[in-house]
């Protein structure tokens, strides 16, 4: 059963086709990789899926709770509320806030108490705030960052900042998680740890994950299926083994054979 299907998605910036006619499908619970050379349009696809960019044409359909819904062109916060969360290639934490606040802010969309309650700190305020605090700390505990909950995000080491970005995305309670180069800038040990964490999250949160990554060891190890982009087009799709031996992929990465 698909959870997200992308049909002939295109995006042009002026005369430049950054993404053209990309079609892909994510099955419920799958871990799919999105790879391609630099400038192939991977992050643009993410930005289209999360509403940061408006697609020039194409349809994105989300299937959730037995409903299908077209989500192309919606605002980022609406798409997030519908269950697609993301991390950023160049970390975008709320740097001057604590780790705990970073997580709590991501839970804002579930808040039911109104503005008046927030001014007067009514009963529903205290109940929901307590619940939100407990949930945030629980989430930090299971992903082993609770000992840093009162640190400012900018003071975390690089690896933990990446980790916090993933935790923050999880705090929005998504059904699909988009990870944009989660292992960028990490050493092999950190990458191994991250690989394990991604696998664990997927099992325990019953998530569908789409992953952009340059680290082939990570992609080949955990992805079940891979889409390869080049010049904004999908040039190959298949299991890691199929992708490894695909002629067009090798050409895209290594250049044409003379």
């Amino acid at each position: 059963m698909p959870i997200l299907s992308v049909n002939k998605l295109s995006k042009s910036f002026g005369g430049l086709m950054a993404v053209s006619n990309v079609s892909m499908e994510l099955e419920q619970g799958e871990l799919v990789g999105l790879i391609g050379p630099n400038g192939a349009g991977k992050t643009t696809v993410f930005n289209l899926l999360t509403g940061m960019y408006q697609p020039t044409s194409g349809i994105i359909t989300l299937y959730r709770d037995q409903k299908e819904e077209q989500i192309q062109g919606l605002k980022p916060y609406t798409i997030c509320k519908k269950g697609i969360a993301r991390t950023f290639q160049n970390i975008r934490l709320f740097r001057d806030l604590t780790v705990l606040d970073n997580v709590r802010i991501a839970m804002n969309k579930n808040v039911k108490y109104g503005l008046l309650s927030s001014f007067f700190h009514s009963r529903s305020y205290s109940d929901e705030e307590k619940e939100m605090l407990d949930n945030s700390i629980h989430l930090l505990e299971i992903l082993k960052l609770d000992h840093k909950k009162d640190e400012l995000a900018k003071n975390l080491p690089y690896g933990e900042q990446r980790q916090l970005e993933i935790i923050r995305a999880l705090a929005t309670n998504p059904c699909i998680l988009l990870l944009d180069e989660p292992a960028a800038g990490m050493n092999p040990a950190e990458t191994a740890q991250l690989t394990e964490m991604i696998g664990w999250i997927r099992e325990n949160f019953k998530l569908t994950i789409l992953l952009i990554e340059h680290d082939m060891s990570l992609v080949m190890k955990i992805c079940e299926r891979i889409y390869v982009l080049d010049y904004g087009m999908v040039i190959a799709e298949g299991t890691p083994a199929e992708i490894k031996s695909n002629k067009r992929v090798i050409e895209a990465y290594l250049g044409e054979e003379m």
Partner: protein, 333 residues
């Protein structure tokens, strides 16, 4: 003994809450007694009114600029709406009910204008928004001066406004503003505003509608600026459009920046400090603005983040400071 109190953490929350209310009540009563005994004379009291009004203005602008990160230079415009509304109402209905109604009506009017101004302009960022808000405040000023001349008496302004504002009203509205805005900041909605200041794109990706929360901050700020204006007009007898010009907006911004963007206690301290300095300098009229200016330059040079930065004054912060001083002394010995 002290340790026992700290250890009983379940009670400590209640204790600190009770402590806050008792402090507030004591301040209210003591100052009232001092006023009755005429130790606080009219001159000192007018400084108190300025401080109270400036605290409300600074804290409400801090919500917009310091916490939500939207650079607004039109706060005096909202203040003038509150001032004129309350003045016009109390000139017709010179009763306490007229006054309270005037304050509330002024705040609501300011909030409504804030909503209709904020909705289109808050799409702008940084300096563009600042320019747009200057324009908005100028339009309001011109409306009061030229267009609504029949009820506002144009450039001559309104005088002989009945004086209902006294220490109790001033204190209730000032403390109320500070408490309500601090409460808001500590809520999920307040954190959503702060996240927009931190990183708007990330906030949107986390499900936060930046337009919605910017407008909420703007409207709330305008509401309380309206209260400040109403309190001002109901004490100082006289208002005219020129009192609420660009200069006034800058004055409010100076209080906020000096106190620390994103610190409510910073805004309060800075409002009190600037009023005291300005009162003290009354005796040197020719040098007043020069000294004031030099002070601003010096403070900004040595503490560019403002007096409090983005921290709040609290017991734990005071403890940290005293420990820091002790530690330094210990190191020297």
């Amino acid at each position: 003994m002290v340790k026992n109190i700290v250890n009983a953490s379940g009670n400590s929350k209640w204790l600190s809450l009770a402590g806050k209310w008792i402090t507030l009540l004591l301040t209210l009563v003591i100052v009232q007694v001092l006023i009755s005994a005429n130790i606080i004379n009219d001159y000192i009291f007018s400084t108190l009114v300025t401080i109270g009004v400036n605290i409300i203005l600074a804290v409400s602008l801090n919500l917009i600029t310091g916490f939500t990160g939207q650079f607004s230079l039109g706060h005096a415009g909202f203040m003038s709406i509150g001032a004129y509304t309350c003045a016009i109402i109390t000139l017709r209905y010179s009763t306490v009910f007229g006054f309270v109604g005037g304050v509330i009506a002024g705040a609501v009017f300011a909030a409504i204008v804030g909503f209709f101004v904020g909705l289109p302009t808050l799409r702008l960022k940084g300096d563009y928004l600042a320019i747009a808000t200057i324009g908005m405040a100028e339009i309001i000023k011109i409306l009061f001066r030229n267009v609504l001349e029949d009820i506002t008496n144009g450039a001559a302004g309104l005088s002989e406004i009945p004086q209902f504002n006294n220490w109790i009203w001033l204190f209730v509205f000032t403390a109320g503003t500070v408490i309500l805005i601090s409460n808001f900041i500590k809520s999920s909605h307040g954190r959503a505003c702060i996240s927009i200041r931190e990183d708007e794109i990330a906030a949107e990706a986390m499900g936060i509608s930046s337009t919605k929360y910017k407008v909420i901050a703007f409207v709330t700020g305008a509401f309380f600026a309206g209260i400040a204006g109403a309190l001002y007009s109901s004490y100082f007898y006289y208002i005219s459009p020129d009192l609420f010009g660009f200069q006034k907006s800058i004055d409010i911004l100076v209080i906020v920046v000096l106190g620390g963007m994103g610190s409510i206690s910073g805004s309060i301290i800075s409002a009190i400090l600037l009023a005291l300095i300005s009162t003290y300098l009354q005796s040197f009229p020719e040098l007043k603005m020069i000294i004031y200016g030099v002070l601003l330059v010096v403070i900004m040079l040595f503490r560019p983040q403002g007096i409090m930065g983005s921290k709040e004054l609290s017991l734990s912060l005071l403890k940290k400071w005293t420990e820091g001083i002790k530690g330094r002394n210990g190191g020297a010995a």
